[in-house]
Symmetry: C2
Subunit: 183 residues, 2 copies
């Protein structure tokens, strides 16, 4: 951030009175420009014993597999974001279940939230950001080609909970990227 989005004057990094962290402060109008974590929301949608996965048609991680997920928008709820992303990336209609994973990624200032869901019909097809959108059983999950660590974590929690016959909310945080993975 170099300029004030309100008045266009240069900003500088300083600690405002009563604050403890450096912020981008406008030298002309005094506006303090806070920066905050972003929320990524997605869905793990089931159809019988299979789940809905997408193969990414965009960077980062072009060609790798993921659950439909994306940045939450202003003026929507977390659940609405999960429905929207699933429709956009997999062309799929789902019914939402409860929150399943909640993952802090402080090194990139993101939270990833995945909901359980039920696919409503088989009329789905990949959106512009996906190469494929398909249903896969546990034995066919491409474990070496999962796009993000949070998605890998979510899939592993899901199959483990399904074996136990009991699903619960899984919270974790990935403080630093693990070696050899993207995030």
């Amino acid at each position: 951030m170099n300029f004030c989005s309100h008045c266009g004057a240069p900003v500088s990094l300083k600690i405002p009175a009563g604050d403890s962290l450096p912020r981008h402060v406008c030298e002309q109008c005094g506006t303090i420009h806070y920066q905050n974590p972003k929320v990524v929301v997605g869905a793990l949608a089931e159809w019988e014993d299979k789940i809905l996965l997408c193969r990414r048609a965009i960077e980062p991680r072009y060609g790798f597999w993921t659950l439909p997920a994306g940045f939450m928008e202003n003026n929507e709820t977390c659940g609405e974001a999960a429905l929207r992303e699933t429709r956009e990336e997999a062309g799929a209609r789902i019914e939402l279940g409860s929150m399943f994973t909640f993952i802090d990624l402080p090194h990139i200032s993101q939270i990833h939230i995945i909901y359980r869901a039920r696919l409503l019909d088989l009329e789905f097809s990949p959106g512009e950001e996906s190469l494929d959108a398909i249903l896969l059983g546990e034995a066919d999950i491409p474990w070496d080609d999962i796009a993000f660590r949070s998605i890998d974590y979510t899939l592993k929690c899901f199959f483990e909970d399904r074996r136990k016959g009991e699903f619960e909310l899984h919270s974790t945080s990935f403080a630093i990227p693990s070696p050899g993975t993207y995030r």
Copy 2:
């Protein structure tokens, strides 16, 4: 938003190619400035049968009661935000439990997340943003003077779950402000 925070040129609202919503786009460098919901995190800290409440020394809702909570910062986890806000607003040290309420407020593009917590000692005192920080039992909660609807909801869920002897995650969304309340 009037100006590009990257190059200082004017921005205009338009729908970028492949997108579906209007964004602030820079006419000079082409940067798309997305705006996303913010996350507010707090703690409901217990000491014996009492909980820790703060009376606000700042607007909005000066003089009203709340749980220690505030905007999550970049490069911290949700849990770290809850610890930090409790230290800043109540001068209190806590041990965090599990996520207790998750509240969507799409009309103000916020998510409020409150964790259960255990107060570690009685060495606490109000921070700069609080007039008071005190322990209160259920009978003494100032129900008519709670600062925010999400906090009122969280307190009610807490006392109800405590009576049942079983705590679970409560998710809800407040689509529009209810009459006569601030948020």
